[in-house]
Subunit: 285 residues, 4 copies
């Protein structure tokens, strides 16, 4: 498939939006490959994702955003973004000591399953440096204490900006990031929490799940916001457990869940299929 | 929600279809409530479902089909159908001896979950007459033998036509219906087969599944075509089993699966979300 | 299969329990059909379910409990119960206005899927009387107000005792039952809550789930204890949802989940496969 | 947990087996940690897995097999095997060009999730040598042609025997192994097939699944027997698909399924939880 554009937008629901946008594309000789829309009838908001081919499109790629803004977006008072498929997103991985999510991500990147660059891995521990080195990815260790947190995060942000990072993955990074850090990457930091939120927020959810005697455990990938474990949920899944499963078994079964739920969220984010609104997500799928 | 129209269509994939259809609606003062499209890139076919409000729509309801045909459908060489939400579909249930699918369907109808009429139940046995009577639905028994099959089916068809039946549900009806019967209701007869087709077609799939030692059993709802158990699949689901499960357990677990898979197919069919093409289905969901 | 006995027991974990119990059975000419055990290594408690054939068993059925108590249970300080398969349990159904769980249960009872008697249905509303009448089950309506709750529950208990009820099913009974009521049926009242507890306890869980923007909804069947929605969990399951699902859709999808999760709990309870301990359950399955 | 023994056995079903085995253990001062049994009532075969602690066990570890054989197994005509937890199994991985199953396995080995040795990786292609080298595992490439197959397999067997390999994993090894090869490792070669067998055996199951228009795809891990894709099934799982999924999407979604289903089978095999009998498996879980 050749180069294409992806429009993600939302605005107040009115009659004629689909017609206006699809007309903008077809009049300029583009072809819609995929169109998915959604109306939140409570909030009266219209959401849409349109993927269209740029082959033979009349408007040069570098001017599409400008034309769209002038001709369509301003008129309809849209919040919008246009992405191009020839751009390769850059993601940074934050890890602590556990390797399962990291290796699952590296596996997808290495095999070409994801078209993405991973310019660096950041950690508060040295434990996983050996894995980063196996895959020739620079590994930066910033040990965090209460005292140095602000300073270390500042260094991390500088590093992320230097590498033009588009999206940050907290791949079982066992640190709370500050509101200031988050403010640099709104809806661009993806975390994996090892429970079906809102059940068992905070630390040690598997221990809490075991204590409560639940029959399913879950994992939740979400955008990070200032409220811990309360950001917009991108994906969730569960696995069944029984009385035979000890906390150790929950941790083992949870690992597979965590890595798949996190990778699913990253995949949909990279495919520009996720729109966050009002602390929820639209995942066009 | 007021009265609305649902367009289901497909045609060769070309640039501008979305624009043309959405323009037809918005120009005439309709409002798109839901639009879902799909392109089969191998076959180069474009599929779409559009649900739009008829409140304030300029074209009178009884003329919409005609206008759409003239202004849009013929130009784009569409196969299409328009449904209106104020029409209540009429379904006929075919059963044999097992009650689980029948009662699941009656439960949804009775509670108002489905907006549907059930003018009659047809069976080749008397076993479930008592249930039909509990719910005050006429029950017609047509015992089938090799010799009388054609004659009995002719009577059934007469009865179905007399009641203006739109859709036939084979709710564990343990009879093969003839090609002639099917030809009266193309893509309007929904069957439930108790396996994950194409595994275990034909009779006694649970016995076969047990014999093979599989770890999952499935159920498949599909439109009935002349090739037995080979029609377009609408919905499938599975349940896990273990070595502990006897054939009797498979039958028990399968019942819940069958009733949910069948009811899911009926629901989506009634919501006009299913398009059959090329022995497959598009289920806009 | 002929008549058999089911032993459910737990005691402190010690070496030799399996040998002692299986010896008791085989020495007396019984045959173990099924044996399942579990050790809670944290609490050091041993749990076991043994199903054995009574054909040719040396000890007369009416004396088995006494012999087992004297020869085995007291020595090992067991908490235990023995059930016989020729006894048909009696369950009472409590309902309010929604019919889906009720009809699912009646469907299983009516078709003989469950070997159980349903001597009565109790409700705080008249809404479902017509269904009870369809299935010829006495329907007792006890409207509940703050003022009359104690008095009405006393009447309910009298009725339940009169009918020798073994187990009470709250099939979407939208009333909190009192501690006094519960004390008459410890671990014998099964409720269905329409969320994956501990997420969304209390009223309107689907509305809360919608508000939080979760991607899965759940249902939980549990024994009722004095702490609302906090009793030992018997079974849980989930269904996936998307941004397309309104609260109404959650309620619709949840209905199927509720009825299956509740019926699964009842089935395992009736099969004597559930042991409650320490606010958790062992479900031998 | 200290060192323990795991007994896997089956024999004709008779009264007293549980008593005899549990007595053998408790009389000799062992403690049963876990006991799971199953009776195939059709074939009248009794299956059991018993895990017992060797701390303070009267019989020295090296004599347990001999004593058990003499005192129990021969009397009851058992097929049996005893494993000790202090032995670390050695597995060989066979791969072709795809890395996802390989990396998933290496990830579990590297992180210590599995207590296993991987002395070598064998392939018919050079493609994945770089990954083996990253993890410092010897990689042996045996290109296979029709002509050299027997000779190459002979070399592979020599290599496997030299390393004392206990179990062979075909981690998307795209070659059929010969009956002679299989005869060296009966029920010790685990394959992953990318469909829900018996649906879509043979080559290109995702293409076939797409062609048939199914709504679920599956994966099956099984022991390899001479009949292609027909050996005893250890584990199966599925993932749902829609009309939106192209063959490429099926392959992508299937990868996650394949790696989890294969790893689950390996895990249970390594935990000595799998018993193959009559072309089926008992998975004590």
């Amino acid at each position: 498939m050749g180069n294409h554009a992806i429009l993600l937008m939302y605005c107040q629901d009115k009659s004629g939006i689909v017609a206006a946008v699809s007309d903008f594309i077809s009049v300029n000789n583009g072809n819609i490959i995929d169109l998915d829309q959604h109306v939140d009838h409570e909030e009266k908001i219209f959401f849409m994702r349109v993927k269209f081919s740029l082959e033979g499109f009349n408007i040069p790629q570098e001017k599409i955003k400008d034309y769209f803004k002038t001709l369509i977006a301003e008129k309809w008072e849209m919040k919008w973004r246009i992405y191009f498929s020839d751009y390769v997103p850059k993601i940074a991985l934050f890890v602590s000591k556990m390797s399962h999510c990291l290796l699952d991500i590296l596996s997808r990147w290495q095999s070409g399953e994801w078209k993405v660059e991973i310019p660096l891995i950041i950690s508060n521990h040295e434990n996983l440096r050996f894995l980063a080195e196996k895959f020739d990815i620079p590994y930066h260790c910033f040990p965090i204490t209460k005292e140095n947190k602000a300073a270390q995060e500042a260094k991390e942000i500088a590093l992320l900006q230097e590498h033009g990072i588009d999206c940050i993955i907290l791949a079982r990074y066992m640190q709370v990031v500050t509101a200031d850090f988050i403010s640099h990457y709104p809806n661009k930091i993806i975390n994996i929490h090892h429970s079906s939120l809102p059940a068992f927020p905070g630390a040690k959810p598997y221990h809490s799940a075991y204590g409560r005697g639940v029959k399913i455990i879950g994992a939740t990938s979400h955008y990070v916001t200032q409220d811990l474990d309360a950001g917009p949920i991108i994906h969730q899944d569960i696995v069944k457990i029984t009385h035979r499963d000890s906390v150790k078994d929950l941790i083992r079964k949870g690992r597979d869940l965590e890595k798949l739920v996190l990778s699913s969220a990253i995949f949909h984010h990279l495919e520009r299929k996720v729109l966050a609104y009002n602390n929820k997500t639209i995942v066009f799928n």
